[in-house]
């Protein structure tokens, strides 16, 4: 009876007799498993191929670029007019633009994000958490164009009321908006980091008679510092790579002024400018796109790697 149901297996219910059993050796290659494993592995390699493609593409075009423009002029020059005559290829104004927007954004996002994280993990009740967390998720999910719109139609007019000298396109507006954009990132990641700190640490400190302020600033935050710092770095990296909001808010004038009231150009908004314009491909002007992109990629890559290293060290400590 059981024999038909299991085409070539042994009977189960016969006690003393040895069974006519199948060999346990492999019977032929298992094509099905192999094919599936190959497909899955190939998909995984797409990520490696992507990275390789990015690196090769950016580097090769940048090397082409450096045949026409000297690296010294590129990295140390302070005038950036690649699309006009006379052309000048000093990238520092773009870097400066990115820098002041990023620093401004960080000054907004980091303290606020950290304070929010502290509030969420140390003070907020569950009900408050259930309101604030979705709000943060929403803020994080709002597309960058919307933030650009917000900068132009709300932030800049408000700023103009306070500072009448400020231009329509200005770096301050961009910095504020980018700061708001990366704030949820800092808040969420730092909140996770702080919550991962064991309750016993807090209880020990409270038991010694510390106030909540002291416990938070002297025990919890230092304990979760790696995760918190990683969140700062990732937020900065995101701010550096931000494109649409700064393009809309800060305009497209590369300059190195110290004030944030004027229009500036970031690396990212320059790349957009080139691709929206009619720059003929193949010329030096066009190659500037790749050179700037490579610089951008390198900077964000370094920051991301550092933050990964910090995060990994953090995981070791608590797991």
């Amino acid at each position: 009876m059981a024999q038909e149901q299991y085409p070539d297996a042994a009977l189960a219910s016969q006690p003393a007799e040895p069974r006519a059993a199948r060999s346990i050796k492999k019977s032929g290659v298992l094509w099905g498993e192999f094919a599936i494993k190959s497909w899955l592995a190939s998909c995984s390699f797409i990520s490696i191929v992507t990275t390789a493609a990015i690196v090769i593409l950016l580097l090769s075009e940048t090397l082409n670029f450096f045949e026409s423009v000297s690296p010294r002029e590129f990295f140390f020059g302070t005038t950036w007019t690649p699309l006009f005559e006379p052309s000048s290829f000093g990238v520092l104004p773009l870097v400066w633009g990115t820098l002041i927007v990023t620093i401004g954004a960080a000054l907004i996002a980091i303290p606020t994000g950290l304070a929010s994280a502290i509030y969420l993990s140390e003070y907020a009740s569950d009900r408050m958490r259930s309101i604030i967390k979705p709000v943060l998720e929403l803020l994080a999910g709002i597309p960058t164009v919307v933030y650009g719109y917000f900068a132009l139609t709300f932030v800049t007019p408000v700023l103009r009321n306070v500072f009448p000298d400020i231009q329509v396109f200005n770096a301050l507006s961009a910095a504020i908006v980018v700061g708001i954009m990366v704030l949820p990132m800092v808040a969420t990641m730092s909140d996770n980091a702080l919550r991962a700190v064991p309750v016993s640490l807090r209880q020990g400190a409270y038991a010694l008679g510390a106030t909540s302020y002291e416990v938070t600033t002297r025990v919890v935050v230092p304990a979760g510092l790696s995760g918190v710092m990683a969140s700062f770095l990732l937020a900065i990296s995101r701010a550096i790579g931000e494109t649409m909001a700064v393009t809309l808010a800060a305009g497209q004038t590369p300059n190195m002024s110290l004030t944030m009231f004027e229009s500036i150009q970031t690396m990212t908004s320059y790349i957009v400018q080139v691709s929206l314009g009619d720059t003929p491909s193949g010329g030096v002007a066009y190659q500037t796109l790749f050179a700037v992109a490579t610089l951008l990629f390198a900077i964000t890559l370094v920051i991301n790697i550092i933050s990964q290293m910090i995060l990994n060290r953090f995981r070791e400590v608590y797991e």
Binding site: Q5, Y6, L11, A12, S13, A16, S23, I24, K25
Partner: protein
């Protein structure tokens, strides 16, 4: 040190080979650089219950898992020696571990039913292995063998997760039995259950003995004494003694065995 004090090892091996389903010879198991099992040899006899007892960390679960090649999933696990099953070494070069597990089943310490219906839990294993008979009969037969049929026959298509702990474990036993394994391995199957469920499962194992060969790892000595025919006592990776259960618990040959079974340690 002979594990069978009454006759020579060779005679015994010859006698045993026809009645043994699984023969362990000089089995050593390593996890990376740590040795968990040292030079263990004994035989699993057909249609008998063989218990493996010993204090925590003595390697009994590791040994059990090597019997159906579940150790393959542990990084760095390495098995040396011979485990002879049906004239072949379980760890031979050409052996298909999947095939081994079809014929040597396992029930785990913590009940792990699939988050599916009771019916699907039992029918899945046979179906993916080419079963083409009546699954209704299969499910009913397996549940009856596991003494669970009466309790669940009206809710076969409900989720297995709704069952109690003891019922889930009996479901896992039914699931393993549905594959009609030649050997059923059980890794402390009652340690996560209450005493009543434990008693029910022990009764169940007693009945299953006539149709199946069972190897059970247990830290509960009394359980081993109650239900098993043969007992292997392990400590720190070594096989201290292997004999008929009655002898192990009444007249053990090794002093260490006596100390363990009388509760002086472990």
């Amino acid at each position: 040190m002979s594990q069978f004090p009454d006759s020579t090892l060779a005679e015994q091996n010859l006698q045993m080979s026809k009645k043994s389903v699984l023969e362990l010879r000089n089995v050593n198991i390593f996890y990376s650089d740590n040795q968990a099992v040292n030079d263990v040899s004994f035989n699993i006899r057909r249609n008998k219950i063989t218990a493996i007892i010993g204090p925590s960390g003595c390697g009994k679960s590791t040994l059990l898992r090597s019997l159906n090649r579940m150790n393959d999933f542990v990084d760095g696990a390495r098995v040396e020696g011979e485990l002879i099953f049906g004239n072949e070494n379980l760890y031979g070069k050409e052996v298909d571990a999947v095939e081994v597990r079809r014929r040597i089943g396992m029930v785990f310490q913590k009940p792990n039913p699939f988050p599916k219906s009771i019916y699907n839990n039992i029918s899945w294993g046979p179906l993916i292995n080419g079963f083409n008979g009546s699954t209704d009969e299969l499910v009913e037969r397996s549940l009856k063998q596991a003494a669970l049929w009466e309790e669940v026959k009206d809710r076969l298509h409900e989720s297995a997760l709704n069952l109690s702990g003891g019922q889930q474990q009996r479901l896992c036993i039914a699931r393993a039995l549905a594959m009609e394994p030649e050997v059923l391995l059980m890794d402390e199957p009652c340690s996560a259950l209450d005493p009543i469920s434990t008693a029910r499962i022990e009764d169940l194992l007693f009945e299953l003995k006539s149709s199946y060969t069972i190897v059970i790892v247990t830290h509960n000595m009394q359980q081993a004494a109650r239900i098993s025919d043969y007992t292997a006592f392990m400590e720190m990776g070594d096989l201290i003694e292997f004999n008929v259960t009655k002898k192990i618990f009444t007249r053990p040959a090794m002093k260490r065995t006596e100390e363990y079974v009388t509760g002086r340690f472990g």
